[in-house]
């Protein structure tokens, strides 16, 4: 594989860039793999990558019904943070954030991780206490966050209105090394690295059945024929329930629409990510200059990848109130994705009732930031049967009443 560098680009320029090779191969499936991952989104590709990198398991296929990175990996608002309250969440998101720090170098693909800082505004006394609690928890979890006062908020975000008539800004939880990354590049970078290890990424191939014998997975049926495997990882976000059904078990998840929007691009005016949970909105500015805005989910099951417009209205009015200068910017594009929500709004990374079959789902609104950590933990779980990163996120927690509830500190968990 050709190494990416400025030098390589310059060299290629001399021959009009005709010498670049494919970023990833596009092979036909083999008859058998050690591991099959269903779903070539960020989480699936990262799982495959760390299986190869950390455990030497490289006879791996990643099967994708559409195009790699075409699901929620490519339609989120790209925020990366780990300032979670509960220990298991903080552990996996901080692992993830740490991996993002070096991901471009690790993958030799610039994923544009930009640790520009993530700020969660406190606009009620209740939120002040919630975020101060999070700050205390983070300090013990090894997550570097701090509570900052309104003056510092205004200094970091000059366009913010800190003394709005409805909800003055009382302070914020600040994670300096949180930020954003280029979402597509994360999927593409992992795909290229996986392909380079000899793994097969098989796009346009839909899994239609899961084969098993004696309670253990033996392979999958696909639109490109049956493929055998020893272990199977299901990492398909919005369609987890359908895959689980093929594998003979059920999941406590529901599919909801989540929406986001961007403004037209403008020159840089906001260098950090701001989340305002009291009014339900968050915003950052992309490298391209667009204000990237996200809000909440619809309340009903929906597989259309379209949401209801009133959620866009609610989000935009919250942000116009918080950042009045955006009133005369224009919404360029709105879109939706399907997110799967669990009973406690935290993900499931778990063994399943089917031997050798593992599930990674339920990321709800917060999956992008977790991609490297989730892949790392899933790879460990699939390779060794145990991972401290995924342990608390098991399927059986709901039966025991052992929830991982992040809404405790913040209304939403993007």
């Amino acid at each position: 594989m050709k190494h990416y560098s400025a030098f390589a680009v310059a060299r290629e320029a001399l021959r009009y860039h005709t010498g670049w090779e494919r970023a990833w191969r596009s092979p036909e499936p083999k008859k058998r793999y050690d591991v099959i991952i269903v779903g070539a989104g960020g989480h699936g590709l990262a799982t495959a990558y760390y299986l190869g990198k950390n455990y030497g398991i490289q006879n791996v296929a990643v099967i994708e019904k559409g195009w790699l990175g075409g699901g929620n990996t490519g339609r989120n608002t790209t925020i990366i943070r780990s300032n979670y309250l509960q220990d298991p969440s903080a552990a996996i998101y901080e692992k993830s954030r740490g991996l993002y720090e070096d991901l471009s170098q690790d993958l030799n693909y610039n994923v544009m991780f930009s640790p520009r800082g993530v700020m969660m505004l406190a606009q009620t006394q209740h939120e002040v206490r919630g975020y101060q609690r999070t700050a205390h928890a983070n300090a013990l979890q090894g997550v570097k966050t701090e509570w900052i006062e309104p003056e510092r908020v205004k200094q970091l975000v000059p366009i913010i209105n800190i003394d709005g008539p409805r909800y003055p800004v009382l302070g914020a939880l600040w994670q300096e090394r949180g930020g954003t990354a280029r979402h597509d590049a994360v999927a593409w970078g992992y795909a290229r690295a996986c392909s380079n290890m000899g793994m097969d990424i098989i796009q346009q191939c839909e899994v239609t059945g899961v084969r098993s014998e004696n309670g253990r997975v033996t392979g999958v049926e696909t639109t490109k024929g049956a493929i055998e495997c020893d272990k199977l990882g299901i990492v398909v976000a919005g369609h987890s329930g359908q895959l689980a059904e093929m594998a003979g078990f059920r999941l406590p998840v529901e599919a909801l629409a989540l929406q986001a929007l961007v403004s037209e691009p403008i020159k840089p005016c906001m260098d950090v990510v701001v989340m305002a949970n009291t009014v339900h909105g968050y915003m950052s500015q992309s490298d391209k200059g667009e204000m990237v805005i996200g809000g909440g989910t619809d309340g009903f099951n929906n597989f259309t990848q379209r949401g209801s417009f009133h959620h866009i209205e609610e989000t935009v009015r919250a942000l116009v109130e918080t950042f009045p200068m955006i009133s005369r910017l224009k919404m360029l594009r709105q879109w939706g994705g399907i997110v799967d929500m669990t009973g406690d709004r935290s993900p499931i990374l778990s063994k399943t009732p089917l031997g050798g079959c593992f599930i990674n789902c339920g990321w709800g609104t917060g999956g992008f930031k977790a991609i490297p950590g989730s892949g790392w933990g899933m790879a460990q779980l699939m390779a060794t049967g145990h991972s401290p990163l995924t342990e608390a996120f098991s399927l059986d927690r709901f039966k025991e009443g052992r929830f991982i509830d992040e809404s405790v500190a913040a209304g939403v968990a993007h």
Partner: protein
């Protein structure tokens, strides 16, 4: 932006007058129920890509809960009906059969 007809006040209510209430026709399990039954009652939701039965409340309206039969893949509404039933009425099931022959949902078809 869904519109559902509230069977109680007859209004074609748009989504902003309504509150979604999740899966319909749940059987409550209380004290004495097994761990599995209780778990399924609270968490194991139907999540079909297709015909689905769910609860809604006309919260910015007459305040009544009602049931809706809806397709989660196209958002087609097959009908709305009373909250005070434990299973979808026949006319609703027939209406679905006319549009989606062979449909199933839980034990219903």
């Amino acid at each position: 932006m869904l519109i559902l007809k509230c069977p109680y006040c007859g209004v074609d209510a748009e989504e902003t007058e309504l509150t979604a209430g999740g899966e319909a026709h749940l059987k409550r399990f209380g004290p004495g129920a097994s761990d599995d039954d209780f778990h399924d009652y609270l968490f194991m939701r139907e999540n079909p890509k297709g015909v689905h039965f769910e609860r809604w409340r006309h919260s910015n309206g007459c305040g009544k809960w009602f049931h809706a039969a809806r397709c989660t893949a196209t958002l087609e509404v097959f009908g709305t009906y009373s909250a005070q039933v434990t299973e979808p009425p026949k006319e609703i099931r027939d209406a679905i059969s006319a549009k989606r022959p062979g449909w199933t949902w839980r034990e219903f078809s």
